[in-house]
């Protein structure tokens, strides 16, 4: 029905979160209609981003510079590390402006069923950061899901020997809740009321 380029476009769009085959077709059609004003600038933006963006070698955040702009910002407290599962969670924290320390992005959570173990996550580098000293508190802001809780507990075990105070977000976060979904108010409350782990 369509040329192979269009089919491929629809296929790729269909892999985006929240887009099924039907909406992928709708988006493709929209892009084709707005070739000059939307499709070409979008293509350029995608290519630029793909070229320039890298994972921060310190914290795992995504940025165009390495170390990322948060790690490079001397005004941010290097003694506080907030551990999150994904860059989206970091963004949620930053949107709420509730935290002025640094982050550590794990890149997911432990999940035996999905074959994601400690080696698949950014855990070794966290242990090294803590072992290097100067860290006064590690805040576990993993999701309130089973995998998120298990991951927080796992990290607590791994970091135990370094005797750094560990806290986790208070359960203003509903069970089954993912940080990225919370409104900023709930997240701020959970952050302020964090507890020792």
């Amino acid at each position: 029905m369509n040329g192979p380029e269009i089919e491929r476009l629809i296929q790729l769009l269909g892999r985006l979160p929240g887009l099924g085959p039907r909406s992928a077709r709708r988006v493709a059609l929209h892009l084709l209609k707005k070739r000059e004003t939307l499709m070409q600038p979008l293509g350029t933006a995608l290519a630029d981003a793909a070229r320039a963006i890298r994972a921060c070698s310190v914290c795992g955040n995504l940025d165009t510079i390495d170390p990322c702009s948060i790690c490079a910002d001397s005004r941010r407290d290097a003694g506080l590390i907030c551990v999150v599962e994904d860059v989206g969670d970091l963004w949620a924290m930053e949107r709420g402006r509730i935290f002025s320390g640094r982050y550590h992005v794990l890149g997911g959570s432990l999940s035996a069923l999905d074959g994601i173990g400690p080696e698949e996550l950014n855990i070794g580098s966290l242990v090294k950061r803590v072992a290097a000293g100067g860290v006064r508190e590690v805040i576990m802001a993993t999701n309130a899901t089973v995998d998120g809780q298990t991951t927080a507990h796992y990290l607590a075990e791994r970091l135990a020997e370094h005797e750094v105070p560990l806290t986790r977000l208070a359960h203003g976060v509903p069970v089954g809740g993912e940080l990225d979904w919370l409104d900023d108010g709930t997240l701020a409350t959970a952050f302020k009321a964090r507890r020792a782990l």
């Binding site: 887009l19 039907r22 400690p118 507990h153 075990e157 791994r158 069970v175 089954g176 979904w181």
Partner: protein, 401 residues
């Protein structure tokens, strides 16, 4: 529970005149591509509802739709995409389904929408979407704050003869009606248990990972066992009184963790369970099971009038015990949470004699629960008179009789 509360649980025939105000009632129900319903809109009063119709008309399907207003996998435990309507001819099956309901509750009007969204990404796992008053919810647990549903179906007639898994599942629904967070604890516990089994079968030996999973199992496992213990204790007190002509019954939890819960502080039971799990890793790896935990518990039910385990009664006697428990539970929930659960009673008239049918109807009306009952024979529901709405289901549509 107070003595007054206990006596309020006893059968009283004078409570049956005049319906109690409905404390939980579906006032509008809309189905889209749900099983054999393409589009259905049903407006109803707060009284109990009776669905009559031939076999295969869609009565059980409608109860299943209502069961999705509470957390869980619904009355058939179906896969989400099996629920999508499959048209008869060449047309492909629907890509999603929806159940939308407006309910009267003690908190006022609540709009609940749930279903499988069409056009979701193929890579993500199908998840049941939930909206309450238009707001998307992160988890189904939120439904439990508004609606508890308990059902009796012909499949459950074998409950006392089936394996312990079926009884735990039935019990966990009763528990969730009293403790809405229970469904979440059960899901979290089972999830962590599956992950631990996977690590064991993969030959993983990372002690920190095991410790973390066993910690999750211990916390949620003890919370769920404590909720079961609380529910069974209160339900036992209520069921021992009997409900009208339905038999008196006793209920008790049977299992290792349940014995600990009965005698130790919850926090100590957590430590104990954590310890047992850590100590049984090797054994569990060899046997491919999880040797300790609340997933091994059972619900023991006795027919007190016969002084026999429920499983040893006749089919009709077993059914009567089950109805007895469901009614005692509905009263208990109504008393302690201020509103009864939605009772879904599929083919309920089948194994009951005329006296018990009458008593069931009186009780359902007195509860103030908008119970939904089904049957093929409208005659059997005649004793309800004007106290219920009788609807005829035929081939994916519904009309008042």
């Amino acid at each position: 529970m107070t003595a007054q509360a206990i006596s309020a649980l006893a059968y009283s025939s004078d409570a049956v005149s005049g319906a109690a105000p409905a404390l939980l009632a579906v006032r509008q129900l809309r189905l889209t591509d749900f099983r054999n319903y393409r589009q259905l809109r049903l407006d109803c009063g707060a009284e109990p509802v009776v669905l009559v119709g031939d076999n295969g008309a869609g009565k059980t399907n409608l109860l299943e739709a209502l069961s999705f207003l509470a957390p869980g996998r619904g009355l058939r435990r179906a896969r989400l995409d099996d629920v999508c309507r499959r048209p008869r001819g060449e047309e492909p099956p629907a890509a999603g389904w929806a159940v939308a309901a407006t309910l009267d509750t003690t908190d006022g009007r609540v709009a609940i929408g749930t279903g499988l969204e069409a056009g979701r990404s193929e890579t993500s796992l199908p998840r049941r979407a939930v909206r309450i008053d238009g707001r998307p919810m992160q988890s189904q647990t939120a439904l439990g704050l508004h609606v508890a549903a308990v059902w009796l179906t012909p499949q459950l007639d074998r409950l006392f003869l089936d394996g312990a898994t079926e009884r735990r599942r039935f019990l966990d629904r009763l528990v969730t009606a009293l403790h809405p967070e229970h469904a979440g604890d059960v899901a979290a516990y089972e999830n962590a248990q599956r992950q631990r089994s996977r690590l064991l079968s993969d030959g993983n030996r990372d002690p920190h990972w095991f410790t973390a999973l066993e910690d999750t199992m211990a916390r949620h496992g003890v919370a769920l066992a404590a909720a079961r213990a609380d529910t069974v204790q209160r339900l036992d007190a209520a069921a021992r009184l009997g409900v009208g002509p339905f038999p008196r019954a006793s209920l008790a939890m049977a299992g290792e963790v349940d014995r600990w819960i009965a005698t130790m502080a919850a926090i100590d039971v957590e430590d104990r369970l954590r310890g047992e799990l850590a100590a049984s890793r090797l054994r569990d790896a060899e046997s491919g099971t999880t040797s300790c935990g609340p997933h091994r518990s059972d619900l023991a039910v006795r027919h007190l009038d016969l002084d026999l385990p429920a499983a040893e009664g006749s089919t009709g006697q077993q059914k009567a015990v089950l109805v007895s428990i469901a009614l005692a539970h509905a009263r208990l929930v109504a008393l302690s949470r201020g509103r009864p659960p939605l009772l879904l009673l599929d083919e309920i008239a089948a194994h009951l004699d005329a006296e018990r049918r009458m008593a069931l109807f009186d009780e359902v009306v007195a509860l103030g629960a908008q119970s939904w009952m089904t049957g093929t024979d409208a005659e059997l529901f005649a004793p309800l008179g004007g106290r219920a709405q009788i609807l005829r289901v035929a081939d994916g549509s519904i009309a008042a009789v």
